[in-house]
């Protein structure tokens, strides 16, 4: 089971996970989108060799998977667990991944760039995630000549990733700021200081389940630690504002808040069929209730893992069968009842 889902980390009442992704390319080989199948294989071999051959300490920990060998349900499931990107999942010709047993590290091969090292940890642990990604990067660097330019830094297929190649992000649960409407001001402020904010599941669905992903946009002209520090500091500020808003709700509208939380809890524990969107909203309420100590019988990590468990890929993998959307709603309700 995925590490970032089953455990909680620092600030886990609000910060669900932290992620650092490093983009790298190999010198003298065209970028993946204009790469022949033979050269693409060469890239896979080089990365595989860099991580698994010799005394790397990772020998037994990682497995190499070709996207083309995965069933569609598994691909979906990996996307839902944030281990691969939707773009990589579509690449059934040259796309590959190296994943560790804990599922905290995934190395995407032949995505938009030759190599994308991703480390995903529970709670607010950006520095730790960077440390891990950095270690993998150093290891690969011993055997691979990276495409690098003194002015532009690490060279990437798209100029938006130049320089450090680092995209750091946090996944936040902000129900109180959303409920009170203060979230708009927070989002505006984040945008002004060069951070991007978006929803988590599905591009079109606006902030489903009050989940927000915040990430750096600038990758060039700043150091890796500066990127991390900036995002960390902003996250801490947002976290404090969310806590204040929660406290305020508890002080001024306790009965309304309790009513909402326990109604949602009741529906989740009893529903016989439920859509993904409704479940996400109700889980958000229950998660808020658990964080505030209103609900004591369910642990935060269990609620966090529910967010992924109710997604279509996970459901179908869990029940080992492909399900249409009506069957999914029924099985989703069943899985939630059994978990709670």
């Amino acid at each position: 089971m995925t590490g970032w889902l089953k455990e909680t980390g620092p600030q886990s009442d609000i910060v669900i996970s932290s992620r650092v992704r490093t983009a790298r390319n190999i010198e003298e080989i065209p970028f993946p989108h204009s790469l022949s199948e033979i050269s693409a294989k060469e890239v896979v071999e080089k990365v595989y060799h860099g991580i698994l051959v010799g005394n790397t300490g990772f020998k037994d920990d990682f497995k190499l998977i070709a996207i083309k060998d995965l069933e569609e349900i598994d691909r979906l499931n990996y996307i839902e667990k944030h281990l691969i990107s939707p773009d990589l999942a579509k690449n059934t010709v040259i796309g590959n991944i190296l994943i560790n047993t804990e599922e905290t590290i995934s190395i995407m091969i032949n995505e938009e760039d030759h190599i994308r090292i991703q480390c995903l940890l529970p709670g607010l642990q950006l520095d730790q995630a960077l440390d891990v990604a950095d270690k993998i990067d150093d290891l690969l660097e011993e055997k691979i000549n990276y495409a690098f330019d003194e002015e532009l830094g690490y060279l990437t297929a798209c100029p938006t990733n130049l320089g450090t190649g680092i995209r750091a992000s946090v996944m936040l649960h902000l129900p109180a700021l959303s409920l009170t409407g203060y979230i708009q001001a927070v989002l505006r402020a984040a945008g002004q200081i060069g951070l991007a904010v978006r929803g988590i599941y599905g591009e079109g669905t606006e902030f489903l389940g009050n989940l927000y992903q915040i990430s750096n946009q600038v990758t060039l002209g700043v150091t890796e630690r500066e990127i991390i520090r900036n995002l960390h500091d902003v996250t801490m500020q947002i976290t404090e504002k969310e806590r204040a808003a929660r406290k305020n709700l508890l002080n001024t509208k306790k009965i309304e808040l309790e009513d909402r939380v326990f109604r949602s809890f009741g529906i989740l524990k009893n529903a016989r069929k439920i859509t993904g969107n409704e479940a996400m909203q109700l889980i958000s309420d229950v998660k808020l209730g658990a964080s505030l100590g209103l609900i004591e019988e369910v642990k935060i990590e269990k609620i966090n893992s529910l967010i992924t468990m109710i997604q279509p890929g996970f459901l179908q993998k869990h029940y080992k069968t492909s399900l249409n959307s009506i069957d999914r709603d029924i099985k989703r309700a069943e899985l939630i009842r059994n978990t709670l």
Binding site: N25, E27, E28, I29, P30, F31, H33, S34, E112, D134, D137, E141, N145, Y146, A147, F148, D149, E150, E151, L152, G153, Y154, L155, A157, C158, P159, T160, L162, G163, T164, I166, G194, E203, G204, V218, T219, L220, G221, V222, T223, E224
Partner: protein, 169 residues
């Protein structure tokens, strides 16, 4: 020509799609084209299209003709027009070839063009030398073109010397 979708309005949008080498032409009226575009919304708003769009805004026509597609990456064969179309470079060498032309765009999206972060440990020195060699080679081509053979010979010696140093590293 009549729109292929609604078969009533005049077709004003013409698209050529090439899928696995097969060419397919589509002729639509504006309304039907927009409906199709809406289905494709995510695609049309991808970062790459967006970047490609940034390049064309306020472009000085004189500036554009000055370059007019002659420059091609020696390693992957990509042209600058292809980048404008895709929003992605073909290979790392493209950054060297199109350096000057990319700089304004990079400044626009990154606010900066000087890397201050991590660098590969063993690469630092070699990269500098390689860049110097590339610049000298460019000068050499120009010298030959201008028939300045004395200068060309000088440049050739410099290139040989640097390449020797790179090989020894």
């Amino acid at each position: 020509m009549i729109c292929e979708d609604c078969n009533s309005r005049k077709a004003t949008v013409h698209m050529t799609k090439i899928i696995q080498g097969k060419k397919e032409e589509v002729h639509l009226c504006e309304e039907c084209a927009r409906a199709k575009e809406a289905l494709n919304f995510e695609n049309s708003l991808s970062i790459h299209n967006f970047l490609a769009g940034l390049l064309d805004i306020n472009a000085d026509p004189q500036f554009q003709t000055q370059y007019s597609g002659v420059q091609q990456c020696s390693q992957c064969g990509a042209t600058y027009d292809r980048f404008k179309h895709m929003g992605r470079l073909g290979c790392s060498q493209c950054y060297e070839v199109f350096r000057e032309r990319l700089a304004p765009l990079i400044r626009k999206v990154q606010g900066n063009v000087n890397h201050t972060g991590k660098a590969p440990k063993r690469a630092g020195g070699i990269i500098r030398l390689r860049r110097e060699v590339n610049q000298l080679k460019q000068q050499l081509r120009e010298a030959i073109h201008q028939q300045a053979f004395e200068k060309a010979a000088e440049l050739r010696d410099q290139i040989n010397e640097l390449e020797g140093r790179i090989e020894g590293m």
